[in-house]
C-alpha cells in the first residue's frame, strides 16, 4: 500500500510517519502532485497556524490538488481544519471539502483554552472508520474548532460540542491526533488504511 503524507512544512510530520511505520506501512513524505495522486491513501498532517499552512500549500498548488483527490484522504488536526471552508485563525479561506467554519474556541467555566489533553469522542454515524472508537480517549491539541457541520461523524464535548471527526465521501478528518492517541489512535489509523470509503 502506498501512503502519501503531504509535506506541508513545519508540521508534525515525524510522528505521523512513525505511526504508519508501527502499523507496518511506509509513508512517503511528498509535495509531488503525481505521487500524491497515485497513492492509495493520502494523509494531510498539521501543526501550526491555518493562514501559514494555507500559504505553504498554495505555494505548491496543493490547495488545488487535494480537493480533487479520489482515494481515501485523512486530515489530522490542522489538516482537518484546512479541509473546511474558512478558518478564523488568520481569517483565511480553506479548501472547502467539508461544510463549516473553523472558529476560535470559547472559554467555558473551569476549562482552559487551548483544548490540550485526552478526551472522549461520541460517534454520530456508524462508519467503519469509527469502529472501536466510541467512548475511547484521544489526544487533542487545538485552540480552534468547528462547532457544527453537516459532515460531522463524531463529536467531542469540551464545554460545548465540536466536530471531532468529519467524513464526506472519500475525505475524512480528525481534530485529535490519532498518531499520538495510544492504542485507540492506532486502531483508527488502521481502520483508515483498511476500509473502503
Amino acid at each position: 500500500m502506498k501512503v502519501a503524507v503531504v509535506d506541508s512544512g513545519g508540521a508534525n510530520i515525524g510522528s505521523v510517519m512513525f505511526a504508519l511505520q508501527r502499523l507496518g506501512v511506509r509513508g512517503e513524505l511528498t509535495r509531488e502532485h503525481g505521487t500524491i495522486r497515485a497513492a492509495d491513501r493520502v494523509i494531510l498532517p498539521g501543526v501550526g497556524a491555518a493562514a501559514d499552512a494555507m500559504a505553504r500549500l498554495g505555494e505548491f498548488e496543493l490547495d488545488k490538488l487535494i480537493p480533487t483527490l479520489t482515494q481515501p484522504v485523512l486530515g489530522i488536526c490542522l489538516g482537518m481544519q484546512l479541509l473546511f471552508e474558512h478558518s478564523a485563525e488568520g481569517d483565511v479561506d480553506c479548501m472547502g471539502v467539508f461544510a463549516g467554519q473553523v472558529e476560535q474556541m470559547q472559554a467555558h467555566a473551569g476549562l482552559s483554552i487551548p483544548h490540550m489533553g485526552w478526551n472522549t469522542i461520541s460517534p454520530v454515524r456508524d462508519l467503519p472508520l469509527l469502529e472501536g472508537a466510541a467512548g475511547q480517549y484521544f489526544y487533542f491539541v487545538h485552540g480552534f474548532s468547528v462547532r457544527t457541520s453537516r459532515d460531522v461523524a463524531a463529536t467531542c464535548d469540551y464545554g460545548e460540542a465540536f466536530v471531532s471527526v468529519a467524513v464526506k465521501e472519500n475525505f475524512c478528518a480528525t481534530q485529535f491526533h490519532p498518531e499520538r492517541s495510544a492504542a485507540a489512535g492506532a486502531r483508527m489509523l488502521s481502520n483508515f488504511l483498511e476500509v473502503k470509503m
Binding site: 501543526v47 497556524a49 485563525e89 482552559s112 487551548p114 490540550m116 480517549y137 495510544a182 492504542a183
Partner: protein, 244 residues
C-alpha cells in the same frame, strides 16, 4: 536528561542517573502515561541547543504526545525539534532572555505547541522566577516576578504553562498548592503542576485544590515508588477524570 541519560536531582541539584531515555520512555508509554516531557537540563546553561538525535528514536517508539525542552532559542530550532517528531516545544530560560521568542513561536507553530516552563521559588517578597536552573553554578534570579511572568507569557501566545515549584522539587512533600492556586487564578491556558509529588494523595490534592490541568512528576515514577496504573486507578476511584 543530561549527556544522553535520564537524571534527577533534588531542588535542581545533585543529579543522579535514573536510566536510559528510550528505556524509560517505553516504560511510561506502556504504563499509560498521558504525556512525557524531556528536559535537556544542560542545554541552556551551556549556551547550546538541544541535542536532537534521541528525539527521532523516541518519536518512533511513542504513541503518546511528548514535549521537548532545552535551549530552543529560535523558530528554526523549534521547527527542527517538531520535524524530528516532538509534539510540543517548551521554552524557559531562552524566553526570559528574549520574551518575543514566545510571540515568534506562537505565530509560526500555533500556541497549542508552545509551552512555557517557569521555575519559581517562594520568597518573602512573593514568587520569584529563576533562570538557568539546570546548573546550580549558573542559576540566577530572572528579572520577573512569577505572577507577572505568567500573565505576560499568556499575552505573548503561550499555549501551556508548566510551573516548577522549586522549593518543592524532588523532596516529595507534595505540590506547592498555595502557589499553584495563585497562578491558576490568573492562568487561562492549561496549567501543569511540577515539583513535589511524593504519594498518590499529592496528585489528588493538586487536581482537586489547585484545579491544574495536569500533574508532572519525575522522582516518584523513576524510583518506582508510585506506579502509574495504580495512581490512575486511585484518581479515578476518587472522581478525578483520567484515561486508564
Amino acid at each position: 536528561m543530561r549527556d544522553g541519560v535520564v537524571v534527577k536531582g533534588v531542588q535542581f541539584q545533585g543529579h543522579r542517573i535514573m536510566g536510559g531515555i528510550l528505556e524509560l520512555a517505553c516504560r511510561y508509554r506502556d504504563e499509560s502515561a498521558d504525556e512525557l516531557v524531556f528536559y535537556d537540563i544542560t542545554a541552556s546553561p551551556e549556551g547550546r541547543s538541544v541535542d536532537r538525535s534521541w528525539i527521532t528514536r523516541v518519536a518512533a517508539e511513542l504513541d503518546i504526545p511528548f514535549c521537548v525542552a532545552g535551549g530552543i532559542r529560535s523558530a528554526r530550532a523549534a521547527e527542527e525539534v517538531l520535524a524530528a517528531g516532538a509534539d510540543k516545544i517548551s521554552v524557559n530560560t531562552p524566553a526570559l532572555e528574549n520574551p518575543s521568542l514566545i510571540d515568534d513561536l506562537a505565530r509560526r507553530f500555533g500556541s497549542q505547541c508552545v509551552v512555557v516552563g517557569i521555575d519559581s521559588r517562594a520568597a518573602d517578597e512573593g514568587y520569584q522566577v529563576y533562570m538557568n536552573t539546570g546548573d546550580p553554578g549558573r542559576m540566577s534570579k530572572a528579572p520577573r516576578q512569577t505572577l507577572d511572568w505568567v500573565s505576560e507569557v499568556q499575552s505573548r501566545g503561550a499555549g501551556e504553562i508548566v510551573l516548577n515549584c522549586m522549593n518543592n522539587d524532588g523532596v516529595r512533600q507534595g505540590y506547592d498548592l498555595e502557589q499553584l492556586e495563585s497562578v491558576r487564578a490568573i492562568c487561562q491556558v492549561p496549567l501543569i503542576a511540577s515539583g513535589g509529588a511524593g504519594c498518590q494523595e499529592h496528585f489528588f490534592d493538586v487536581f482537586s485544590r489547585a484545579r491544574v490541568d495536569g500533574a508532572l512528576a519525575a522522582s516518584v515514577f523513576h524510583s518506582g515508588n508510585i506506579r502509574l496504573p495504580d495512581l490512575k486507578q486511585y484518581l479515578k476511584d476518587n472522581n478525578v477524570q483520567v484515561r486508564l
